[in-house]
């Protein structure tokens, strides 16, 4: 086989792969614009006969999905900002500050790194019930405010930062808080960007815990609202596809705009990890 025909074959395979990867999402988008009933036809339609926005209108008016979009946005942004602050402080301390029992703390945290979060959910629910956090934003936000994985990545990245920078600031009389905020944070910005995107996407997409802790439809995040809706509207394919688009679009947009930071971060983290 010549190099040329090998290249053609290779790109045909790559193209077919891309079609398989994107196909379901493209169909979701197309079906969301189809008039009611058109997605349930034989042979299946690929494109809407006459595109309509009626399902989006129904979702945002009668079904009030805008409320859930707002809930998801508030929760995902709050978790991202708070966890970035809390994880970066902890990661920095574990990497650069000297104090007793630091290694023990690090080892204990590491032990929890791969534990599945589901194991904590039953007692956590009972605890939150006592604390009055059931069916509240805080009930979703609090368990995600600190992440062992995030602390880990930040510690790893911060270890590579030269100590001279910190010592120079200390000689200039800067406080430890000031050193963290004005010296360390600017240096570790790349890993913070990666973790911010990672946290935002994970919180937005999270399903099980919000499903457990939120009981009122007006408090539901988008995935919980969508799962709830899909039970009642199982026949309304086009409506459900519009709901799926509304749920996926924000994370897709964040990913596409910031993918450079995200993909590089995942690849760098994995090599070290």
């Amino acid at each position: 086989m010549t190099a040329r025909s090998r290249a053609v074959l290779l790109h045909a395979a790559l193209g077919a792969g891309a079609l398989l990867a994107l196909g379901p999402m493209l169909w979701m988008l197309a079906a969301s614009f189809m008039p009611a009933g058109e997605a349930n036809a034989y042979p299946p339609r690929i494109l809407p006969s006459r595109p309509t926005l009626e399902h989006y209108r129904t979702l945002f008016t009668r079904l009030d999905l805008g409320r859930n979009l707002l809930n998801s946005s508030i929760i995902a942004l709050a978790v991202t900002i708070l966890s970035l602050l809390i994880n970066s402080m902890a990661g920095y301390a574990l990497a650069k500050l000297r104090f007793r029992h630091r290694e023990q703390v690090f080892r204990t945290l590491s032990a929890g790194l791969l534990l599945p979060v589901q194991i904590s959910m039953l007692p956590l629910f009972l605890l939150f019930k006592e604390l009055g956090l059931i069916n509240s934003y805080w009930g979703v936000i609090i368990p995600s405010m600190a992440s062992i994985f995030g602390i880990f990545l930040i510690r790893q990245y911060t270890l590579a930062m030269p100590d001279d920078l910190l010592d120079a600031a200390r000689i200039d009389g800067a406080s430890e808080l000031r050193i963290y905020w004005s010296v360390t944070l600017p240096v570790i910005r790349p890993i913070l960007a990666t973790i911010a995107i990672w946290t935002f996407l994970n919180t937005w997409n999270d399903f099980m815990w919000p499903l457990i802790v939120l009981s009122d439809e007006a408090k539901y995040t988008l995935p919980v609202a969508l799962a709830n809706l899909s039970g009642e509207h199982v026949q309304d394919t086009e409506l459900m596809m519009a709901g799926a688009v509304i749920t996926v679009l924000p994370v897709m947009a964040v990913f596409l705009v910031l993918q450079r930071y995200y993909i590089q971060g995942v690849m760098a983290g994995s090599v070290k990890g």
């Binding site: 190099a3 290249a7 290779l10 395979a13 792969g17 891309a18 994107l22 379901p24 999402m25 169909w27 349930n40 034989y42 042979p43 299946p44 402080m89 902890a90 500050l97 000297r98 104090f99 007793r100 703390v105 929890g112 791969l114 534990l115 599945p116 589901q118 194991i119 904590s120 959910m121 039953l122 007692p123 009972l126 605890l127 609090i142 405010m145 600190a146 062992i148 430890e176 963290y180 399903f207 099980m208 988008l222 919980v224 969508l226 899909s230 394919t237 459900m240 709901g243 749920t247 996926v248 994370v251 897709m252 990913f255 596409l256 993918q259 993909i263 995942v266 690849m267 994995s270 090599v271």
Partner: protein, 299 residues
């Protein structure tokens, strides 16, 4: 600070203060509940206990005895293993295949393909599970329509107990392969070019280069991807919750779905905690097996 220099009082205080919020949160809302989960599994905590905690009694291993005797638990255990055993290797294979294609010397627009293949990973699982439910529709679904062209089917993907779990596996592979592909690409790029040159000079063709250079060099990456995939797949929940509600005939009821139903639908929290603890033991076993394999490699 120079290595070996003593820590100043200021640094000691700052260290603990910086750590405090994270340790408090992780301690109170993760480690403590994980421990409490074990305790809970030795009680008869149920809906009466939710009304009044005075109704809780210690029952020893009764929940575990009940689990072992329960056909539903055995089904959930079997389903979960089936999902992991089918989905794990398939994910590793597809991710590696995609990584080899994207990373091939002749490939153009590498970063474009990388992004496209990664896109399913960032989507919302609940949303794409609903999309796939319609793609799997026995009459109108695109999948059966496409299979019709090659003379296969129609398959009642989510309605047939034999096909429901493979259908969920397919969705899970589609959703996850992009992430592991990135890890494999990073692994491939770390293989020194000289190894391929040496193999080439020894007369090795592409296949033998793959067998004797790429695969051995990717060993640790493969073990890592396998571990992460398996641990993730043991936690199967949203797909059956949204697509099949654990059916048909319980063929897609996973351990976590069982835990959710027992704990949060029937409020049998003691029993559900025992299910959670079995999950914990399974994942612990996987982690230990991984450590032994890796230890064997470095030795």
């Amino acid at each position: 600070m120079r290595p070996g220099a003593p820590s100043s009082a200021e640094q000691r205080t700052a260290g603990w203060l910086f750590l405090a919020p994270a340790l408090l949160l992780i301690g109170c809302f993760f480690f403590l509940p994980v421990g409490a989960s074990l305790l809970l599994s030795f009680t008869d905590f149920d809906i009466y206990a939710i009304a009044d905690p005075a109704n809780v009694r210690l029952v020893g291993f009764r929940n575990y005895a009940e689990l072992l005797a329960s056909p539903l638990f055995r089904t959930a255990l079997k389903n979960t293993f089936y999902f992991v055993a089918l989905g794990g290797p398939l994910t590793v294979a597809v991710s590696l295949g995609a990584a080899l294609l994207v990373n091939a010397r002749l490939t153009r627009f590498k970063s474009l393909f990388r992004t496209l293949y990664f896109a399913p990973f960032v989507t919302t699982l609940v949303a794409v599970a609903i999309v796939w439910r319609y793609l799997y529709h026995p009459e109108y679904g695109l999948l059966n329509y496409a299979l019709g062209f090659v003379g296969l089917g129609p398959v009642d993907w989510l309605g047939d107990p034999r096909w429901a779990m493979p259908a969920i596996v397919l969705l899970a592979v589609w959703k996850n392969f992009g992430y592991h592909m990135l890890i494999f690409i990073a692994g491939l790029q770390a293989i020194p070019e000289e190894l391929y040159e040496a193999a080439y000079l020894d007369g090795a063709g592409p296949w033998r280069q793959f067998r004797h250079v790429t695969l051995p060099m990717l060993g640790p990456t493969m073990a890592f991807v396998g571990l992460v995939t398996m641990i993730g797949f043991f936690q199967l929940f949203a797909e059956p919750y949204v697509m099949t509600q654990g059916g048909p005939l319980r063929s897609t009821t996973s351990l976590v779905l069982l835990m959710y139903e027992e704990g949060f639908r029937w409020w049998r929290m003691g029993y559900a905690a025992a299910v959670a603890f079995v999950l914990f033991l399974l994942i612990l076993a996987v982690m230990l097996a991984h450590r032994m394999v890796r230890g064997g490699e470095t030795a």
